[in-house]
């Protein structure tokens, strides 16, 4: 008898199972305000086989905050900076990274043309430790074959590329769940889990005040800017949001919150756009308002800087200030309801962390409408920012990031729930 503590595998398994059940039980009866944990988090423990492998490979590298692993340049294949900047943003999306690095994609596509597999490969490249820039030619080929409308050697819009890429990934991911249903509302692929939100559109009849609501899925929010041909100011009444996000109005600069307020303001659809009201059974004037029904885990804001109206095509370079931390509560459909019920001042609920977001990637465009260059700022290791300019990755300061013009802004939910 060695008199030492021992760890019996079976006993441990039983204990683990019981603990898990107890946790689940607890979760069901928990108060609404507490974080909902449906599954007990258990740390990883290596199996015997894994241990053996690890023992044979002593050159272990741990990703610390001063480590370059996870960062890699991308060669420009000929005006493909629009693609490179989106790839940088996606590879630094924490949830997506975790999904791919833990090999969660099981490919069911026959040929070699699965874009999700290519993404997986891309993550492997980024975490390989190689210092030379990666050449994303296969990615380009795959995206062009699957999204023909994008193909063509010309400078393209990064936002367009993002949507097309997400769409192809989403289509290829569907095979993962074995769900053949083409119903976009029921897809549970990783792309939908991370990027898809719900936008609620309420059309209120001016006569009977009946509201007709529709909810549409979205991957990004496109925001109009001041200086475009559509008028920006004035915004709707109600000082929601601006103080909340700590942005100063005194400087006069437009903030992201301003843009969001404008996006969610009630818009009177003039007499030329009468909607058939089911309550009145006739065409009436109405107001329309957009709010967020469901926020995605990663919210992408697209500042509409490229104007392509009939008479002019130009780039709007108005500076828009955006925060590091963003609270989306004032723009939610639920907030709107409480506003409508008379509660104008929204007490900020410190325990409600559902709508708090942190900035993690910014895509910028320098130059003119016809010719320009895209770069990305990405966040790594909590507070370090890096500038990705095709093959060149350099360290950047938070100030650099916040002072930049901003074209695509990527925010990540701060608090996640395990499902």
């Amino acid at each position: 008898m060695c008199q030492d503590y021992i760890y019996d595998k079976e006993m441990e398994q039983i204990a683990k199972e019981e603990q898990r059940k107890a946790w689940k039980m607890q979760g069901k009866t928990t108060h609404k305000l507490c974080v909902k944990l449906r599954e007990k988090y258990s740390t990883w423990e290596p199996t015997k086989r894994e241990l053996e492998l690890l023992r044979h490979n002593p050159k272990r590298r741990r990703i610390t905050s001063n480590c370059t692993i996870g960062l890699r340049g991308l060669i420009n294949l000929g005006n493909t900076c629009f693609m490179n900047c989106i790839v940088q943003a996606l590879t630094h999306t924490p949830l997506l990274r975790d999904f791919f690095l833990s090999d969660r994609h099981k490919c069911e596509m026959q040929s070699n043309s699965c874009l999700v597999c290519e993404m997986s490969q891309l993550f492997q490249e980024f975490y390989s430790g190689h210092r030379s820039p990666h050449i994303p030619f296969r990615l380009l080929h795959l995206v062009w074959t699957h999204a023909r409308h994008l193909a063509g050697y010309e400078q393209q819009d990064a936002h367009e590329f993002l949507i097309a890429a997400l769409d192809v990934l989403h289509r290829h991911c569907k095979d993962d769940n074995g769900k053949k249903a083409n119903n976009p509302n029921h897809c549970n692929c990783i792309i939908d889990q991370i990027f898809t939100g719900g936008l609620q559109s309420d059309v209120t009849c001016q006569v009977c005040h009946g509201v007709s609501t529709t909810i549409d899925p979205f991957w990004d929010i496109s925001l109009d800017l001041p200086g475009s041909s559509t008028p920006f100011w004035p915004l709707s009444p109600g000082g929601d949001g601006s103080a909340l996000n700590g942005e100063s109005h005194t400087t006069g600069a437009t903030t992201l919150t301003d843009c969001l307020r404008r996006f969610t303001r009630p818009e009177h659809l003039g007499s030329s756009a009468k909607i058939k009201c089911s309550g009145c059974h006739s065409y009436q004037e109405s107001t329309k308002q957009l709010t967020m029904k469901k926020l995605p885990i990663v919210a992408c804001f697209h500042l509409k800087r490229f104007e392509h109206s009939a008479k002019l095509r130009r780039k709007i370079t108005t500076y828009v200030s955006f925060p590091l931390e963003l609270d989306m509560t004032p723009f939610m459909a639920s907030s709107k309801e409480s506003r409508m019920n008379g509660q104008y001042q929204q007490a900020v609920d410190p325990f409600n962390n559902d709508n708090k977001y942190s900035l993690f990637a910014v895509v910028n465009h320098q130059g003119t409408l016809e010719s320009g260059h895209y770069t990305t700022f990405i966040r790594q290791h909590k507070d370090q920012w890096f500038k990705c300019d095709d093959a060149i990755i350099t360290k950047a300061s938070i100030k650099d990031v916040l002072d930049s013009e901003g074209y695509l802004l990527f925010y990540h939910k701060q608090f996640l729930e395990y499902e």
Binding site: C67, R131, E370
Partner: protein, 364 residues
Amino acid sequence: MKMEDMPLSGPDNTKLESLVHDIYSELVEDACLGLCFEVHRAVKQGYFFLDETDQESMKEFEIVDQPGVDIFGQVYNQWKNKECECPNCKRLIAASRFAPHLEKCLGMGRNSSRIANRRLASNNNMSKSESDQEDNDDLNDNDWSYGAEKKAKKRKSDKNQNSPRRSKSMKHKNGELGTIVTSEPYKYNFNTGISYETLGPDEVRSLLTTQCGVISEHTKKMCTRSQRCPQHTDEQRRAVRVFLLGPSAPTLPDADPVVENDGFDIPDGQTLMSRLQWEDSSDISPTDSASSKASTNPSDSRRPKKKKRPSLGLNSGGGGGGGGGSSSLTGGSSSSQSNISLSTKKKRPKLSAPSIPSIYDDLN
């Protein structure tokens, strides 16, 4: 009795203190034991060593934060010579020119369908392999030139591929970029293609007795025209035979059979053209001479709309063009083009021109 109400001294106090002490020590013990057990378990189960990392490796991956170098400590802009294999045609393409190559390779993009249509329309004696060469890979890659801007601008406003203005913008582009045709062949060793590789030496030998056999850079297929095919020079035919039958030759001056001959408007940059070396001086292609308009290339008359291109020599056809070496490795400066010796020979512009309609007008 509430704790606050308790007097600070008194017999009960010692009990209180010992209680507090008990609680405190239990908390501390719990914390310590917890850690002990964690470590003990790790050692017992054998995974304690996982925490150790290799110091040297870690040092290699430290972030560098100095001006002039990136986070890996590398100097900027040293990645000019990267290459990749096109998933479609399996050729090795310079990475910075992969996108324009792919566009044509896949037959997408505005010009590819035009090119394809023309090719189909005029397909006479041209063998299929030759007609595949439409590549002008090079176009300007990283830098945006005026022409490219125009093209992009146009694209944004009018995505219709059939727009009548398309050709116009292409002309601009052509002029500015002056690319043309593959320069790659001159740059790297010829990658063995599939088609002739699958043939045995005897088959190759017999083929070469009847056919021109010059291997197309683009499709890696051998030219199936007669031994006197005007697209290729004797030099090339000799080289191919050496390559295939004799000791392997290092690089093939690949003929760019394409037809580019006709497509281009004779550029105004004649000087450039004159710097290009032609194998047979006898046929100085009309591009060499100032009066390109006088060229025998009937294709010129086909495109009266084409504007003068300010620069860069496109190998306009005048027979044979093909290939000018546009290499525009980096932004296509004209000087780089002139360094390329054209092996394509426009032997008999008169002869070739008629048979080859300007398919590649823009090649670029």
